[in-house]
């Protein structure tokens, strides 16, 4: 009996995972991208983890759009034939070794070499729990990325997104999902027959704020994805309650409320349960996003008669229009360094993702689609994830700031939308 129940649980979990996993398609391999070889790791003891860890790292580097990562035919040991790699125009080489200490623990050592200078750029040795192999591969990818480019990678992070599956008879099933940055290890946080919108990771990566219609109207909830069934509902407000955005201190959430019918942005302090009104216009104010220092918000407003993006300095109270190009700009988010905004920008009849330099007002249109929405920066600011329509299907796409679409995440079962990228794990 117990076995049957266990089996049932297993099948259930298995089917959930199989359903939820997204297909990853790397769109373009740029020939000018940084050529790096990540060799299969040397394996001591009985394990396949050596191949796995190198594969995960290679996929990471290829998805970034900045690297052209390939494998080597053989495992590489300590003796490096620099001339051979130079003749193959390889610029960096990663190799390492994994030793199985016991059933649960592996010892990992990794090296990064600069082929031209024949120098070791990075080396590290540590122990890993078996279940941690994927995370270690992501962590190592970040370290190597930083050693090569001088800035952090965004691999050891998580995504959240919403999937929508048509169940027939007009039934739709919405799922709030989280996954690693490579869309692997997906977990379903919430299943609902009502729409789910705007998931947002808290700065500490322990909570997700989102909008649900499960009570027949839009309301903001905060869920703890790693604590079973823990959900926090914000107090009842009349009208719309939506568009949550975390203050970088993690203590409060900016959200849109339409008490009295007028849509304004408020800040709600989760512990003190205090509500502060941030915008006071008669038009629609929504889609707030805090600057990384927490001193300003960017938001969407139709106060000018057009849908446009504004920045409010919360210390002086001054509001400035952020962009004067285009007749429709919306859902802007700050880059992690606070200097740029990614937003939805209308070009002719198309809605595309654009990147604005806040100071110089330089605008770069990053995409070439018709219905892009929900842009969000990777935590290192080098990539923007957004939702779009490809072949009449909702997918997530990632564009690197160099202007290349780098990879796409699609669901076989239905649509994917509303992406959000976590901060770094602490």
């Amino acid at each position: 009996m117990k076995f049957v129940r266990l089996l049932a649980v297993f099948i259930y979990l298995h089917s959930m995972v199989a359903h939820a996993i997204l297909e990853v398609t790397v769109l373009k391999q740029d020939e000018k991208a940084f050529p790096i070889v990540i060799a299969p790791f040397e394996v001591v003891g009985d394990t396949k983890k050596g191949q796995e860890i190198a594969n995960i790292m290679r996929d990471n580097f290829n998805r970034s759009g900045e690297f052209n990562a390939s494998s080597s035919k053989d495992v590489i040991y300590d003796k490096i034939d620099y001339d051979k790699w130079r003749s193959q125009k390889v610029e960096a080489l990663v190799y390492g070794r994994i030793e199985k200490v016991n059933q649960k623990v592996f010892k990992v050592k990794v090296y990064l070499l600069d082929i031209y200078s024949s120098k070791e750029l990075y080396t590290k040795e540590f122990s890993v729990h078996n279940s941690g192999i994927r995370r270690i591969a992501h962590y190592l990818s970040d370290q190597i990325y930083e050693a090569l480019l001088g800035e952090k990678g965004s691999f050891y992070t998580r995504l959240s997104y919403v999937t929508v599956v048509n169940k027939g008879r007009g039934n739709r099933e919405y799922r709030l999902e989280i996954s690693h940055s490579d869309a692997q290890n997906p977990q379903t946080i919430l299943i609902s027959s009502s729409p789910i919108l705007s998931p947002a990771w808290s700065p500490d990566q322990k909570k997700i704020a989102y909008v649900s219609f499960e009570n027949g109207r839009s309301e903001v909830f905060v869920r703890y994805p790693f604590v079973r069934r823990k959900t926090q509902k914000l107090p009842y407000f009349d009208g719309i309650s939506s568009a949550p955005s975390w203050h970088p201190n993690g203590q409060s959430i900016a959200l849109t409320l339409s008490k009295n019918g007028n849509k304004d942005i408020y800040s709600y302090h989760l512990k003190d349960k205090k509500l502060t009104q941030l915008t006071f216009d008669n038009g629609i104010d929504t889609e707030a996003n805090y600057s990384p220092d927490g001193n300003s918000i960017v938001f969407t407003s139709n106060r000018s008669g057009q849908v446009q993006v504004y920045i409010k300095d919360l210390t002086t109270g001054k509001i400035k229009r952020a962009i004067f190009t285009g007749s429709y700009n919306a859902k802007a988010v700050f880059s992690p360094n606070g200097k740029q905004l990614a937003m939805v920008h209308r070009v002719g009849k198309d809605y595309r993702i654009a990147l604005l330099d806040i100071k110089t007002k330089d605008l770069i249109i990053m995409t070439n689609n018709a219905l892009d929405e929900s842009p969000y920066f990777s935590p290192n600011g080098n990539m923007i994830i957004f939702a779009t329509n490809k072949k009449d299907r909702g997918v997530l796409s990632v564009v690197s700031l160099l202007g290349r679409e780098t990879f796409e995440l699609a669901s076989k079962a239905g649509e994917v939308r509303e992406p959000n990228w976590s901060h770094y794990s602490k």
Binding site: G170, L197, F213, S218, A330, E373, S374
Partner: protein
């Protein structure tokens, strides 16, 4: 072949209403009776061609048969229970105003009935802005009803772009989705 497609699609259409019921129940509260309109009409063919989840519910949710008859009568008299809007607009045009006045007169004649207005937007632009836009559309309708002292009997909700009537990614589809729906209880 086409006939079969239409036939099976109409089955989908009719059966889809079970979820619409649930959906409307959530909005308006638990009803005991929800009647679903039979859509086997001349217009069905074109609707089927572009949208399989299209639906239309009876715009009265409740148990009172007299009230239900009154709503049906209003409908049969040609009053629209769905009003449409321009792109990014929430202004009420003259024709819609006339429709709303008919609803206002109806509400005065039937003081036991309350109205829920559900605002919607098309898929263009961002979801959160469209949620706000949908509410403004419903509020514009409510504002006119307010001129007839009916505001206290009118509830407003917005679904933004989340519940489209048409799935088509063109103006024909979009104009069907920029709407406010009337539900009486």
């Amino acid at each position: 072949m086409i006939k079969i497609v239409i036939l099976s699609a109409s089955v989908v259409l009719l059966s889809s209403c079970s979820t619409v019921e649930e959906f409307v129940n959530k909005i308006i509260g638990e009803p005991n009776v929800v009647t679903v309109e039979d859509r086997r009409s001349a217009t069905q063919e074109s609707i089927v061609a572009e949208d399989y989840s299209s639906f239309e519910v009876q715009n009265y949710i409740g148990t009172n048969n007299a009230a239900k008859d009154a709503v049906t009568e209003l409908k049969n008299a040609g009053t629209n229970f769905v009003l449409y809007f321009s792109y990014d607009g929430y202004e009420i045009d003259k024709k819609s105003t006339e429709e709303i006045i008919q609803h206002a007169n109806f509400m005065r004649d039937n003081p036991q009935l309350n109205l829920t207005l559900a605002g919607h937007a098309d898929e263009r632009g961002t979801r959160e802005y469209n949620l706000a836009l949908g509410e403004n559309r419903a509020l514009s309708v409510k504002e006119i009803l307010g001129l007839y002292d009916l505001a206290s009997r009118v509830k407003v909700i917005s679904f933004g772009e989340e519940n489209p009537i048409s799935q088509a990614h063109d103006e024909q589809g979009w104009q069907k989705n920029r709407r406010v729906e009337f539900f009486y209880k």
